[in-house]
Amino acid sequence: MKRMSFVQALNDALDIMMAEDERVFLLGEDIGHMGGDFGVTRGLFTKYGGERVRDTPLSEAAIIGTAVGAAMVGMRPVPEIMFADFLGTCYDQIVNNAAKMHYMFDGQFKAPIVIRTAAGGGFGGGPHHSQSVEGWFMNVPGLVIVGPSTPQDAKGMLIACIENDNPVLFLEHKALYRVRGDVDEGKFSVPLRKAHIAREGTDVTIVASMKMTHEALAAAEELAAENISVEVVDLRTLRPWDTQTVLESVAKTGRAIVANEAPKMGGLGSDVSATIAEECFSHLKAPVKRVCGLDTPIPFSVPLEKVILPNKDDIKKAVQDTLAH
């Protein structure tokens, strides 16, 4: 066990996998001697060389296409897209190439790639450097979407993703990069498709992920002082997500809040809310509530950004409203 940041945990995972398996290689913009915009690949260029830590031009479609092609012939590419907002420039490659390949060729090919990317807002990055993009991809069968919230999960899930045979979109929330936590040393993996009960409680379930898990935990802590017992479920895998853990929790508490940083309409929050409402109909004592971003792009000005992104207080209020129902 070692205390390290989210960035270091990711770096550690890449290092372990590259040392162990020479099929693993990285490609992306400025991931080489610079070590990536956020330092996730720092040191790997020196250690593994430019063949396996490849700087690319600003060719996002080619980055993903290259990864897919290499994966088809046995490699384990880990492409980086610097900011998740840029995924629109390679959307087709992800959705129509990586995600469909295994199915349309009926199992003859697979595309085990892990697309790492920095997502999320809250730092004045403006409309093109701040988005939560899971909603863009939630309706894409064949794709796995992962979004860890702790350094331990970041490391263990990145390892699990690299070992998994499916194409993965691996979301790293920028607000979490500097978060520190205890991380197991050496190689281990945290299972995909398994949500994590980040806090146990009995009165209400909050389903969250990434940064919102931290907001939910903070809200839960404050609510505890009001004698409200909150269970926080950290989804971790966003597609296909772990309905079982979520539904069991809601069956127990009878109340649910779904927290997601992206806009409410058409987002992950809607999927979780709909599934809970359909499957826990008879257990629900109050309507599920979604606590999400407002239906706007993300403004540059920090005070404005604060208005549109959901936070701990919004979650708290939703819990209180739900209990008052």
Binding site: H102, M104, Q108
Partner: protein, 322 residues
């Protein structure tokens, strides 16, 4: 070029021709679902490519390359059955005309989003290089693909990283109804490669001898580790647009009669005493008969088992059924 090779190329061309003619007939009868693009008129290009690749190479066929899929070594009936959407097809009927892959012969399948494969091919080329194989990745694209951003991203990266990628650009003059020169800065697409300082040639795609020679040379170049190569095959597709013919009569006459690939090959062989009409007729008849057996196979094959509908979405994970 030695006589046997030319004869072999001629047989390959007939495989393409007979395959597509049979397929078109069955499509009109309603036996082939979806949309149909045929390689009729482009037989020489496909034969030339098939002639130069080996099974350990990768190739990404375009939407008119059904014949090439067979020439690569997949049993014809398995390709035909795929196009009929049958259980016995190479992808169990799940891919169809635009997605008939067969890794065992290096067929990496088409991707119906034109240009997408140009990016995928980079990865195969890169991996082969990293794996120290001297195989290559060939990607077959129409002139229409020259408009796509991936065209540029692919050529630039292949050139920069000196990847073993062969670009086979089948310039048949049109993207559906739009003339290549009307939507691109040049109608001579091999010129585009100048931006990347990439080896690049234009060849008469209806002259199978020339096309095969140039393709072989390009493959050679790539195998020597010198980087990518771009070939523009000038040719013409017989198929017009869905709603009919739109091209000038004189143009049609030139390509379908005067400069027709089968005729050019025949003329060459007769002139060079490689084969006489009787031999050539026999090749045609043999191939045609064989194609009929593939069609019969496809027609008689069962549809895919319904459980295939939800199989292989994720590797190792099941999805919900109704």
């Amino acid at each position: 070029m030695d006589g046997n090779t030319v004869l072999e190329l001629y047989r390959k061309m007939w495989v393409v021709r007979a395959f597509e003619q049979g397929l078109e007939r069955e499509f009109k009868k309603g036996n082939v679902p979806g949309m149909l693009h045929t390689g009729l008129g482009q037989e020489a290009v496909q034969a030339a490519i098939a002639n130069s690749l080996r099974k350990t190479d990768a190739f990404f066929p375009d939407h008119r390359a059904h014949g090439l899929l067979v020439l690569a070594g997949t049993p014809g009936e398995k390709i035909m059955a795929e196009l009929f959407g049958k259980a016995t097809g190479v992808c169990s009927g799940k891919g169809g005309s635009l997605h008939s892959a067969d890794p065992s012969v290096g067929n990496f399948g088409d991707n119906a989003v034109e240009g997408s494969m140009m990016a995928t091919a980079l990865g195969v080329g890169l991996a082969y290089k990293m794996q120290k194989r001297d195989d290559l990745a060939a990607v077959i694209v129409g002139d229409g693909t020259a408009g796509r951003g991936e065209w540029h991203e692919s050529l630039n990266l292949a050139a920069t990283w000196k990847l073993p990628v062969l670009y086979c650009c089948v310039n048949n003059g049109y993207a559906i109804s739009t003339a290549v020169g009307d939507s691109h800065a040049t109608a001579e697409l091999y010129e585009f490669a100048c931006a990347y300082k990439m080896q690049s040639v234009q060849v008469d795609g209806n002259d199978v001898v020339e096309a095969a020679r140039v393709t072989a040379e390009a493959v050679d170049w790539i195998r020597q580790g010198k980087g990518p190569f771009f070939i523009e095959y000038k040719t013409w597709r017989w198929q017009g647009i869905f709603s009919g013919e739109f091209r000038p009569a004189e143009e049609i006459r030139y390509w379908k009669e005067e400069h027709e690939p089968m005729k050019l090959a025949r003329d060459y062989m007769v002139k060079n005493h490689i084969a006489d009409d009787a031999v050539l007729e026999q090749i045609k008849a043999e191939v045609e008969a064989q194609v009929e057996t593939w069609i019969t196979f496809a027609l008689e094959s069962p549809p895919p088992d319904l459980s295939k509908a939800t199989a292989n979405v994720y590797v190792g994970w099941e999805v919900e059924t109704r």
